[in-house]
Symmetry: C2
Subunit: 200 residues, 2 copies
């Protein structure tokens, strides 16, 4: 069977959201599956450009403008959330728990619901109550989501996934690994698609 694409993303990354609206469709076109790997922003911060945005107001201003222009260019519904960035630990854990318990498709459905809630409906996805409601919206039970995203097994799994991804060279969001080849950024989806075609 053809290998899956590994899709790493941070819910606090608009470019990760943009990627999430396209990755499954693109992979499907080339008969590939996608494994979704959510990350909490906290885990990524030391190794990404987290500090440079704060240190550099010109860059910060530019990036916000780029989010809006890129969304429009690619025809993706988007607005900059009122609270941004925020703590995405609960979101990541809930998705990982849903994947473990109910399979990849359920995890993806929850991840897509979280992205939409944050970048289209401006909901506070840092609040665990929002995550529970979103779990219910994709057919999960409220108490189960609450327990799942708080249990120590899930926390351990999130940490292990981050260690594994770091070992694979993942350092930002979105990040895709396809047959060992890394692609960082939504703006490399053209090159990712070329690679998918070349190996079809």
């Amino acid at each position: 069977m053809a290998s899956a694409l590994d899709f790493y993303f941070d819910f606090s990354s608009p470019y990760g959201y943009f990627a999430s609206t396209r990755i499954n469709e693109m992979a499907q076109k080339h008969n590939r599956r996608v494994d979704w790997h959510p990350f909490s922003g906290e885990a990524f911060k030391p190794s990404t450009s987290g500090t440079s945005l704060v240190q550099n107001p010109a860059k910060r201003t530019y990036i916000e403008r780029d989010y809006i222009r890129s969304a429009k260019f690619h025809n993706i519904e988007f607005k900059i959330p009122s609270v941004f960035p925020l703590d995405t630990r609960y979101a990541s854990r809930a998705v990982m728990w849903a994947e473990s318990k109910y399979g990849e498709d359920k995890g993806i459905a929850l991840a897509q619901a979280i992205f939409k809630a944050y970048y289209v409906e401006d909901k506070n996805i840092g609040d665990p109550k929002t995550i529970i409601d979103l779990g219910v919206s994709v057919g999960l039970k409220a108490e189960e989501v609450s327990e799942g995203m708080n249990n120590s097994f899930t926390k351990e799994q999130v940490r292990a996934e981050i260690d594994l991804a770091t070992a694979k060279g993942v350092f930002g969001s979105p990040f895709v690994i396809f047959d060992g080849e890394p692609f960082w950024g939504f703006d490399r989806f053209d090159q990712l698609e070329a690679a998918l075609k070349a190996k079809a």
Copy 2:
């Protein structure tokens, strides 16, 4: 007359080189001129991602891979120079001097020769002798280039250009400003072209 595109670049930036191979052709298609603004890497370092590449080996490895893959994807002749990055002050000054003395076209010709020497022929463009030779190759006199890139007026002009660009929000290479709209990165050339079309 339609306004020109302002094109900011650092000779030490491969993405700046990629942009330099396309910008004039793209602008011409939409009846625009391009003003080329070279920068020395030293001037940019404090405000760009200069430090993060050093701090993060995974990112550094990725970026080198991305240079090669992106060049191939866009069909641009390229190899990673033996000495990289290097001091681009002489290159920047020589181009600015040539523009001031002989006009934009001569400056662009020299800049293109420098980019090619560095990223195709693997010449050490940090060495002022290389810059003088390249000046001669585009029809300038050796002594004149040598004097021009070392005189205090040129140095002052380079500093003033950097201050002006910083005030306009330029923080990386390549960077294009078109009618007040900023575009950072060769991977925003699709959006730049869309903007050129929209204002044709």
